[in-house]
Point group: D2
């Protein structure tokens, strides 16, 4: 039996000493205001034991981690039809996200990069009566926590500066892979990214990915097959251009966000969320990566 | 002395017999309504003799030909500073217009492809008090014709369907190569493209490129050096992915538009405009290309 | 306890009925002579029980599966230094293998695509006294089988037609990422690809990847950390442009070859090799993919 | 009447004062031994008057300028059929020469970049009885000079280090766009590049491009149509990634080589060769570019 608490404590100690904590994302002005000395980690095992260290209850902007929620909700609603509009392959390289869209005629490489997540957002906007409210209810439901909410300031800040996402959405539209207005879809998308949650809350929501689709309160949100596939996508595509590196060094499915959060999981064993706002040059939390690498090295627990 | 009228008559006869007239551009709904049996050609020589055949006085949407006017106006206003924001190299290939923007960090390859023309539009929007009115006045002025105007229906139609241009403008904005609002710049850009002119009017406006920068009424709009450079850009970049083919087969600087118009010129000799709405698979007028190829073959006049 | 034999028998029955068996690789003439009705599968569990169906003892050309052996041997010899010359990220797309080499200045994306495997071959050629003999001894050793051998006809056939590999090796050389002669390195590389083995033999050699680096006879070839990393690489990069699809549908680390072989494994549980010479349009065995998908669906065993 | 001699003298004076003379190409060891203070220029007008300044009679390695000779010879031999194997479009960008070959399935963008010139070399190797001897005879013939020869040391030096050309040739071979052995074709190609000629000799050979295909001794080597097309290709494709810049700044068809030579021409007026071994960062002679820019600026003679 692994003593997770000792491991988390040791990780906390290591990160406290880190001299290089990375760079805070500054392309969204609101994100730049976070204290870069924050660090938190929270682990939840299959038996629902909780372990934590540092600022594990402090909320931060989850950003791209939200793509896992929208993907889960869309898969629950339309199943396999989703794959007619987005592929499941790693995008491979940082130079050409939009060019890949051009080469592949508007079919994004996977749902965890921005263009793919915008297609998923479009699907939800089409299917839901009140997209923002219904999606928020979904997240609160799997978290078992009604206090989770959007940060309207962050959403507004992204809207003003999200030109690259506007470019992607318009390109998708030009290839007929966006059903709704660019503005409507991006309003939804910027809101999903603005969700603020703590490490503890993130770990709670990812419990269903280690428990065959059932959340902590035993409600079923996804089939076993869907969980397997979402986990596979997180492993191959969850870390931008560093997906291979994360699989190689950490060996767990997971997803990161430019707010500095990372969630990862070992099926049937545990899920874990780490947070530190400084990013490495690939856009993933520097200390978050270090923490998870140390976790799997110390415990020798990984999918491989 | 070349008998231009006989050559144009022979060209008209050849195009009359053409079985394959190409495809009309249908991505802008308003363009699709044009009668594809139209064909016109108008040639103006340095001594201001006029020669024409077919529907040479019928107006059509000049589309990308307008890029030569905005470029000329911007060069007149800011000169060499223009080249800090746009390059002068051919773009080379159809697969990767936006990807080149990504690779080259927001500097378009040249001012005659869409992203480059959008940067030029942005420059004019910044410099002019009343951008749309002032630019229209400029075109009327070099044409010596106050009846030239925008087609508001075409402009509105492009606005509704121009997602690829919205993608390009937002990408430029994300690289800080757009000073004004995307909406403001594209409103100007869609208007410049919507100008409707006849072959005769087009030939008139291009007179300054064969006459060292002086228009037909002898006013000077450009220096000799600027004319040389705009002509060079038309030769290397004026025909999308078919620029090499046009230089190779026709051997004149020129510019085409998806409305089916093509203008070309031989410095110190003549300028010529041809129009036929059916396009080849590279987006250039099928019969227009044929007409100009025949013109330079018959007369043995080209820059080479 | 899973009844693997029943599952394999059911798989065999399904593949027997398959109407579309894919296309045999014909770019290497020698490969084109194989009977496309062959199908074999062999599974070895951690306790060294063996299960099989079909032509599981018939040898075939393992081709790219050999990349896992050379990678293992090189990691054993030089460890982390390997990653100075090759990256660990998925290559993502089929259009641009050599262009990625150009963009990334001669560092291949990972050791399981051709350019990366050629770099690994170069490393072995530099380190080994008798590269071909020593490598063959290594494979025989982990297999516990001295009958495994190169097929000189296949190696010669590849040499005559392997222009794309010659292009890759010369490009690597132009970026100073090849220490030895192109000819010497490719001679080694074509030999490694020409190894002929049966499903049973392949499963035997992959036992070390489910047993923490120890082979069936308990000799240790790799550390636990190295095994974890090679498994991660197989998952993210083992199936050309279909790596995401394989992770998504099958959910196991593995490697395929154009000879129609596929090996896959579940750490601490089992390794399995399937073979059928007909390929799908991504270059992976059509029935082999089907077999492994059915295996993980029926048994509900995967890393996710 | 332009006083060319005074212009050349003024150019010589300007280049004498240049502080930055660029960098000598060092990727071919033999090229690195040239004295970088050399500068020569030679101009030949239609009436066969000769003007020169500096080291205009000193021979140097013409390198890529030879592509114009092989293209001319191949066009003379097989005419339009050439264009089934190579295109006529500018390549546009420095990042992806081989990737373009991959995207376009083995059809090089034009005959003046390396892969295109290798296809042309392959055509000559197929057609000529004694390729190297026959091609040398052709060059001597248009030059009217039997002393022109290959530099075997340079050819051997390129063979040892020309890995990028080996990569291109093998890639062409993999797409069935090379009829002969890679070694045979590249042996020819490295020899053509190794030709050593002076500015005076280069100008002599380019006389046919200003005289409708007739050389100085009045023999006809090309039709008027072929001359026009080769001139068009030189303009759009003759200066690597700087073709647009050269057209823009100089405004003449021409071709450069990494030995520091540049030839350019104004049809029916003059041809000119300049040489200085230091290159700019695009691989064209730094002072050669300056000289030609000054020539067309001072004389106001260009095709535009």
């Amino acid at each position: 039996m692994v003593d997770f608490q000792s491991v988390l404590d040791a990780i906390k100690e290591t990160t406290d000493k880190a001299k290089d904590r990375g760079q805070i994302a500054d392309y969204i002005p609101e994100l730049a205001n976070v204290d870069m000395h924050k660090f938190g980690i929270h682990l939840l095992d299959l038996e629902q034991h909780n372990f934590s260290a540092g600022n594990s209850n402090e909320r931060f902007s989850i950003q791209s981690i939200s793509k896992v929620y929208t993907l889960s909700m869309a898969m629950g609603l339309i199943g396999e039809k989703l794959w007619e509009r987005v592929d499941v392959e790693p995008s491979g390289d940082p130079f050409n996200h939009l060019s890949l869209l051009e080469l592949e005629k508007g079919i994004p490489r996977n749902p965890l990069i921005n263009p793919g997540a915008i297609v998923v957002a479009d699907i939800l906007v089409s299917l839901l009566d009140h997209p923002k409210e219904d999606f928020l209810a979904f997240v609160r439901n799997i978290a078992g926590d009604n206090m989770i909410d959007y940060d309207e300031k962050i959403a507004a800040s992204e809207k003003l500066t999200g030109f690259h996402n506007y470019a992607a959405a318009n390109l998708l539209k030009s290839y007929n892979n966006l059903e709704n207005d660019v503005e409507t879809v991006l309003d939804f998308y910027f809101h999903q990214c603005s969700l603020t949650m703590s490490c503890a809350e993130l770990a709670n929501t990812f419990y269903m990915f280690i428990n065959n689709g059932k959340c902590r309160k035993n409600n079923t949100f996804l089939t076993k097959g869907q969980v397997k596939r979402i986990n596979a996508l997180m492993l191959t595509c969850g870390f931008y251009d560093e997906a291979g590196e994360f699989a190689f060094e950490v060996g767990l499915p997971g997803k990161s966000g430019v707010g500095g959060g990372i969630v990862a999981l070992l099926p049937n064993k545990f899920c874990v969320a780490a947070w530190s706002p400084g990013l490495n040059d690939k856009g993933n939390s520097k200390l978050g990566m270090l923490a998870l690498e140390k976790l799997t090295t110390e415990t020798e627990l990984s999918i491989f």
